[in-house]
């Protein structure tokens, strides 16, 4: 071994290191000032819309590169408006015709027509992805002519066109159906093209505008970089030090950003509380008693938590649905902060000495549940917080490990919530609690095109659910985005956690109505 040979080895190691460090090429792209750099805590799961879960995948990734037959009205994100379809006509309660835009091409050059649309619907049904139950009424699709697609339903479904505006209804190039890398290499018609070469999975995903969208509103969109920053403090820091322009944040960081003069966008999208899984009292008998479940509701000072823990980005509430369908105005203040009443209810249930139960809590949510825990302790209820690994919360909600679940469900669209949470056959009803009243009300409502019947049924449904406390709601929480108000305008939080990226424009080159 000589020094020379050592030097050779060191050189080799250095070379290997540098080679490893060299990622893809770095072609010139628009400077950062012309890009919307968005910080999210949600890593990309898949670009295949038929296999994607809705939520963040939809709003952070899919909506950039795909279009649905319908899309959501930016002004009222629960209302479907025409997308790739120029409109729709119900032929009867189970058949709808959708005329399509002409001259639209997928990013691989394949033309979009009724055959492609029908193939997509068939694929959606065949793959039976995670969102299939939201479009369970779909039986099939056919091309009436080259630019009209017809959807066939098993039964009437008032929510179909809304759910098709989300990931299930997005149109993929039929030529790409069998691409093994479709999950990481999308082929759609959206306003952006995914720049795979310059993206790093799990770190940053880059999107360049095509400038050729069928909808003129989406032709002037700026380039978007989606940065995955899972650490909440890192997202705030990145915004402050200028690595990103907009980020999804928790209330703590939003409060700090507001102090520092950043823009805030918010929308109440989720409720906070418990879903009582052991409503039959199998493992935790006290929870089988509705009075005890009510006591949990009266024991907690909702307003104090909204202010102190959520820095005001939350609202005291008693019911799951925040507005519209399933929202019951009379229930708005059903629960008040009344520890005496909570104790009385416990005493009436024969639990004057209190009881204890365990709750699974994600590390990021532990603070708010610690606050709840403090109030419950005051009335003699010992809530033991078990911190669980992120990614296991759904597993726990499917099992009998814990008597309650702490998943914060979306506070709208009761048609989707019932079969997932409260139905006797719901995945998140591990104890199999069955209530004939709500089963009937929901089944009727979900298959009826009569809006007033739907309205009536869901009012009754949630009246039962809130008063008998199947789920206990403490607060309605805001989803929050913070952003550089000098650079961006048109920032609004959508229904699915993230800001609506299609609506954001650069202040420097934006036209009047949006800014």
């Amino acid at each position: 071994m000589t020094l020379r040979r050592g030097g050779w080895l060191a050189t080799l190691l250095c070379a290997a290191w540098l080679a490893a460090c060299s990622g893809g090429e770095s072609p010139a792209s628009s400077p950062d000032a012309a890009r919307v750099r968005f910080g999210t805590n949600n890593p990309l799961v898949t670009f295949d819309p038929h296999l994607a879960d809705t939520g963040p995948q939809f709003s952070s990734y899919l909506t950039l590169v795909y279009d649905g037959l319908t899309e959501l009205d930016p002004a009222d994100p629960l209302r479907p408006i025409p997308g790739l379809a120029t409109g729709w006509t119900w032929r009867d309660a189970v058949t709808v015709d959708l005329p399509l835009h002409q001259g639209v091409h997928f990013s691989d050059g394949t033309p979009f027509d009724a055959h492609a649309a029908a193939a997509n619907i068939e694929r959606l049904i065949r793959l039976a992805g995670p969102r299939i139950n939201t479009v369970a009424s779909l039986q099939g699709a056919s091309a009436v002519d080259d630019f009209t697609v017809r959807l066939h339903l098993r039964h009437p479904d008032p929510t179909l066109l809304y759910n098709l505006a989300l990931s299930p209804g997005m149109m993929v190039s039929p030529a790409a159906f069998d691409n093994a890398d479709l999950d990481l290499n999308p082929v759609g018609t959206g306003p952006w093209r995914y720049d795979k070469a310059r993206s790093k999975i799990g770190a940053v995903h880059r999107f360049e505008p095509t400038g050729a969208h069928f909808n003129p509103r989406h032709r002037d969109v700026p380039a978007v970089d989606v940065h995955v920053l899972t650490n909440r403090r890192a997202r705030l820091n990145a915004l402050i030090s200028g690595q990103i322009d907009i980020a999804i944040v928790s209330p703590t960081e939003a409060a700090a950003a507001e102090d520092l003069g950043f823009g805030i966008a918010r929308r109440a999208n989720r409720w906070f509380g418990f879903t009582i899984l052991d409503r039959i009292g199998e493992r935790t008998p006290p929870l089988g008693d509705a009075r005890v479940r009510q006591a949990l509701g009266f024991a907690v000072d909702r307003r104090a938590i909204a202010e102190a823990v959520f820095f005001g980005y939350a609202r005291a509430a008693s019911q799951p649905m925040v507005e519209g369908l399933g929202h019951v105005p009379q229930l708005e203040n059903f629960f008040t902060y009344d520890p005496a009443r909570a104790r009385a209810l416990l005493t009436a249930a024969g639990l004057a000495d209190g009881f204890s139960f365990a709750a699974p809590v994600l590390p990021d949510n532990s603070v708010e549940y610690e606050a709840v825990q403090g109030y419950l302790r005051d009335v003699g209820i010992d809530m033991e917080i078990t911190v669980i690994e992120p990614g296991t919360i759904a597993t726990h909600a499917r099992s009998k490990t814990f008597p309650v679940s702490t998943i914060g469900y979306p506070n709208f669209d009761p048609d989707s919530r019932h079969p997932a949470i409260w139905s006797a056959t719901a995945a998140f009803n591990p104890f199999g609690h069955r209530d004939e009243r709500i089963e009937r009300l929901a089944e009727e409502a979900r298959r009826s095109l009569d809006e007033s019947l739907r309205e009536r049924n869901y009012q009754q449904y949630f009246n039962i659910l809130v008063k008998e406390v199947f789920s206990l709601v403490y607060l309605q929480l805001d989803d929050l985005a913070i952003y550089d108000a000098a650079k961006l305008c048109g920032v609004e939080v959508g229904r699915y956690i993230d800001p609506m990226l299609r609506e954001i424009r650069l202040a420097a080159r934006a036209e009047a109505p949006r800014c």
Binding site: M1, C21, G23, P130, D183, A203, H227, N231, R235, N237
Partner: protein, 314 residues
Amino acid sequence: MLRLLATRVAGLAPLLLIVSFLTFTMLHLVPGDIRDIILGVDATPEQYAELGAKLGLDDPFLVQYGRWLGRALQGDLGTSAYNSQTVVEAVLDTLPVTLSLTFGGMFVGLVIGVPAGVYAGLHRGGLVDRIAVLAATVGQALPNFWVAILLAIPFALWWRLLPATGFTPPTESVSAWLASIALASVALGTSASAALARQTRGAVIDVLGREYIRAARARGVSKRAVTFKHALKNAAVPVVTTIGFQVNGLLGGALIVEQVFGLHGFGALAIDAVRTQDIPIMQGVVMMGTVIIVVVNIAVDVAYGYVNPRMRPG
């Protein structure tokens, strides 16, 4: 020397086999279910069962391991359990970040720790020595993520001299790369330099007291030459060994510190993989982490052979 290298590299194979089995077993025991991630919160039990069959989750453990090993031997570490990214791709994507931080921390540790240790050792008992000893002791007591956060506040948030998050590969811009890893490297290098300074100081003091130093002086070698030729080469032996030990600590520190700076390295990959039950990825990360540690240790052994002739075979 080549033979030493060859035996060490050959020894890597059984080690990786043991490591792969250990990790595979360990990760197999992880609770939770990848299906929750893929299917989301509203899936039906049927979808659940179907996906399980597709992913082979119901096969016996050894069958699953055998399948993985068979592919691994063909250079295919598999595909992420929930998207089409290959494990090799995912690991190579994150490798630059982790290597940059690990070696950046090492670089800072060496640049600060070794000269400080040599100076303190040569001027034992002096003011500089006492300050260095105290600083090194305190430096080893600081949690590195804490140092990272404290460094980020003035440099990134107040003065905005350096980015608070993000990684620029050196191929894109060397200066931007250095800026993107500077704070993390310094945070990691704090404890590394403290450890190296203590070790170097101790080694220098130890060597200076050796008989061969006196013997060299007795044959007329000047004090300066004795220090810089005879003493430092021997003092390098324990210091080089320390570098080997430090790699494991630096790699671990990098996992945590990268979170502070929102960097997507092995830490993010591993934490995501654990959370999403992505066993192939976790497997790949642990294997690659092992390879890094072993390769650095082989390099250390080679360097060790250079500074310490006793370690050379033959």
